[in-house]
């Protein structure tokens, strides 16, 4: 049996996603063997991130301070908003370097069966942002899952009523680059066909 402090560390590490008991134990012993400065740096980093990172008051992305770096960036086009479910969905879109606008993070996806209703997400705040004016396009980039689609349909309908002049678009669905057509599923391939374009 481990000494209580080690056991406590193992228990806490095992709460992290993707970390089982055995991995937690390995990490705990790595931390024990590590240089004290290295271990304290890890503890400080965790403390700092919890103390200093909150939600951006405009887009609800993660931010150090009242606004996130994207909302503060003057070079970003404020007339295009990309709507995503979670803050970590911003990262892959940023990696593409294709999107020049700003974001709006909903904080999840609609799922009435699981008790997630429109009031539980930042949908009203999105409508308020659009109502302030200056927005020409809203890109719905929720996940291509059932709940993501339901959320996109709900927001599209809400925006059609509230801001008919704003263009509402949805990310295209299709085949992943480099994949074989042979292995594509019917839903994805069907959508790829529906969204085909002239070349």
């Amino acid at each position: 049996m481990n000494a209580p402090p080690i056991q406590r560390l193992v228990t806490e590490l095992a709460k992290l996603p993707g970390i089982g008991n055995r991995t937690a134990q390995r990490l705990a012993f790595h931390i024990l063997r590590a240089d004290p400065q290295e271990a304290y740096a890890l503890a400080d980093a965790i403390r700092e991130v919890k103390e200093r990172i909150g939600l951006c008051e405009v887009c609800f992305n993660l931010a150090e301070g009242p606004r996130c770096r994207i909302c503060l960036d003057e070079r970003r086009d404020p007339s295009i908003i990309c709507v995503v479910e979670e803050p970590n969905d911003v990262i892959p879109i940023e990696r593409t370097h294709e999107f020049p606008g700003r974001y709006h993070v909903l904080g999840g996806a609609l799922s009435p069966i699981d008790g997630v209703d429109p009031e539980d997400l930042k949908i009203a705040q999105l409508y308020a942002r659009v109502a302030e004016g200056g927005i020409r396009e809203v890109v719905l980039a929720t996940n291509p899952t059932t709940t993501g689609e339901a959320t996109a349909l709900h927001i599209a309908e809400g925006l059609r009523e509230r801001a008919p002049d704003v263009t509402v678009t949805r990310l295209a669905s299709g085949l992943p680059v480099g994949a074989d057509l042979e292995y594509a599923d019917e839903v994805t391939l069907g959508r790829a066909f529906a969204g085909r374009r002239a070349v």
């Binding site: 009435p112 599923d185 839903v187």
Partner: protein, 229 residues
Amino acid sequence: MLRSLRYGEADRILHLYTEHRGRIAAIAKGVRRARSRFGGRLEPFTRVALVLHEGRSELLTVTAADTVAPHRRLRERAASLDAAARACDAVARLFETADPHPPVYHLLCHELALLDADPGAATHANQLAFRLKLLLAAGLAPQLAACARCGEREHLSAFSGAEGGVVCTACEGAGFPLSEEAHAFMSEALGRPLRDAPQASDRALRQAERAIAETAEHHAHVRLRAAVP
């Protein structure tokens, strides 16, 4: 596929309703990755043929999936999506064991196919007709032809979940008022195919929904979610 829950890094736990094994749960590993071989086959409301590995754990593992009916059009309409979610939820709540109920499986398949084919099918009346048929499949169909308490065939003016059906004026104290229209709706909905579900006023549909909810609560100890948002 009734529903799916995110699990771990890229997996999903699937809740399935099958023809021969009733309700089962399975894990689909790596399904959330863009290059997953399952792709969009394991999304809720899809009818799929699966190969499942039965290991030592309670969860089966999906090793292969073939789409039988993707119900793609259903996913393009908010009302149809919502109706499909409520239908699947009702099945999940009323039939949560691994006992097979082939009629329930076929009824759900018909409902999803109908919601996919007909944008106008996502109505309150359709949801209630589906639930009534589910109660029938569960052996809990409410007594609608005569008073569930005394057997009287006339003056049926109320419904009692505890008695399991309509009750007459003399026995009315046991239930809540049920209009003739709501009574007729319930009887017709049970007798007609889903695609021909009868229509009724909002008031009658609300009464019918209460009757269905009370029947499920008293006899299956299940609380159903509202049939419409």
